[in-house]
Amino acid sequence: MGVRDVVLSVKGLDTRFGKKVVHNKLSLDVIEGEVLVLLGGSGSGKSVFLRSLIGLESPQAGECMFEGKELFGLDELALVEVRRRIAYVFQGGALFDSLTVAENLAYPLREQGNTDDSEIRARIEDALSRVGLPGTEALFPASLSGGMIKRVGLARSLMLDPAVVLYDEPTAGLDPTNSRRISEIIRTLAEAGKTSILVTHDIDCALRAADRIAFLHDGRVAEIEPIEVIKSAPPPLIRDYLEGESKS
């Protein structure tokens, strides 16, 4: 990876739920075009961190710069523009039950005021072929498998051509084949220039997709290293985590 700009910079993030401290002065820079994987134990605040970036959680303190704009504290109206540039792939896909696959994919486009049916149809076909699900337009989410739901969720998040994609446990509950397929899609998107932040407990997926791996501990980024370092000489916390996960 050559020298690239920081696309998203978080500084001094503090998040608390009641008395529980989730983030404690967490700071992290995300480099343009990279896949940054966040690892950490359950409850270490990985998903909350992702949710904070698009305003689904409101942190108590901190700042987050993205494309020259401070994200924390924006109102819902201002966040609409941010959410067009930063997409979120939900753990369970979060497809709308009452809509078909095609309608789910068309939803973000229609919300942005795009009413050109032929263009929407073309973009749906393109998005579905990118995630390996052509011909599923007419199906409802209830008739899709877990892996297909996740891939449609991923396709929907790409409809607005975002600069950054946030993945929350994209391979959780999937068989190894589907998990590998999702990791490959993430990698392909990164090669096409999309910046990605990936929260996962799936070590195979992390090692396959990551450019860098950060480890969250005690509410902050305790360790962060490029994938080459992780593979050759991982720092202590990440090493313990990887060993623990592979044993389990």
Binding site: I54, R83, D97, E111
Partner: protein, 267 residues
């Protein structure tokens, strides 16, 4: 002694926490109501979603409401008919049935049925969307959940409750007429004449007017409880129950208040 003091203190602390939680709940509810009115003012108005919800929540509730209304009118006619026959007061049945149906029973039973069917349905649907992250997905895709989910349901129920009430009033009176003619020997023309002369426009306005407020509350309570759902599928059951219970309480207590007000102002 020390342990007892600690227990009392703990109970006091629990009470304080419950009061704070109640205030937070009320404040969140008021915020949702405020956000919904702001969504109307900000526009654009989600007209097609309102029509869709009117179909789902109001038109599909109509059979239940109509059966309830017809049965209520019929049972009232039977009860009063047999009871008053002994005192020669059978001819008062049309007046009693029509006034009771139009002023109280029609509106209250219609709204209770709506709270049970539509209010519960709204809470369960939005609760399901909340736990499956579909509400978060709406926000992440640049939509306002209040405009997309809350506003159409509240509008549908606010408009639907008085319309269903008017139809329920008619069917309740007809139910009473069927029983009066078949079991009490009152002719249908006499029944209708007595019922017509007993009901004033004010009765209809007072009866249906309050259902605008009841319908709005059913909608808001269903949405509010649905959107607050947590703890997975168990939470959906809890939210649904809350929506129905709170909706029913609002209707019953609200009816007492409206009745008192209507007599106070001579309506």
């Amino acid at each position: 002694m020390k342990i007892r003091a600690m227990r009392s203190l703990r109970r006091f602390e629990n009470l304080g926490e419950s009061v704070i939680a109640l205030f937070e709940r009320v404040s969140d509810f008021v915020s949702l109501v405020g956000a919904t009115f702001m969504a109307v003012l900000r526009g654009p108005f989600p007209f097609s979603l309102c029509v869709e919800q009117f179909h789902v929540l109001v038109i599909r509730s109509a059979p239940l409401v109509f059966v309830t209304a017809t049965s209520t009118g019929a049972v009232m006619a039977l009860q009063f008919g047999y009871g008053m026959e002994r005192f020669g007061g059978k001819l008062y049945v049309p007046t009693i049935v029509s006034i009771s149906i139009v002023r109280v029973l029609g509106p209250v039973f219609t709204c209770l049925m709506l709270a049970g069917r539509a209010g519960a349905g709204v809470a369960a649907e939005l609760g399901g969307m909340k736990v499956s992250q579909q509400v978060d997905a709406l926000r992440a895709l640049g939509s306002d959940p209040v405009r997309k989910l809350v506003l159409p349901r509240v509008v549908a129920l606010t408009l639907g409750a008085p319309l269903l009430t008017l139809l329920a009033d008619i069917l309740g009176i007809v139910g009473g007429m069927v029983v009066s003619t078949s079991a009490l020997g009152i002719s249908s023309s006499l029944y209708l004449e007595k019922a017509y002369s007993a009901i004033s426009l004010a009765d209809i306005c007072v009866g249906t007017g309050k259902t605008v407020a009841f319908g709005m509350f059913i909608g808001f309570l269903g949405c509010f409880n649905g959107l607050r759902t947590k703890d997975g599928t168990a939470g959906i059951g809890f939210s649904t129950t809350q929506a129905v219970v709170l909706g029913s309480i609002v209707i019953m207590v609200g009816d007492v208040l409206f009745t008192k007000l209507s007599f106070l102002f001579g309506w």
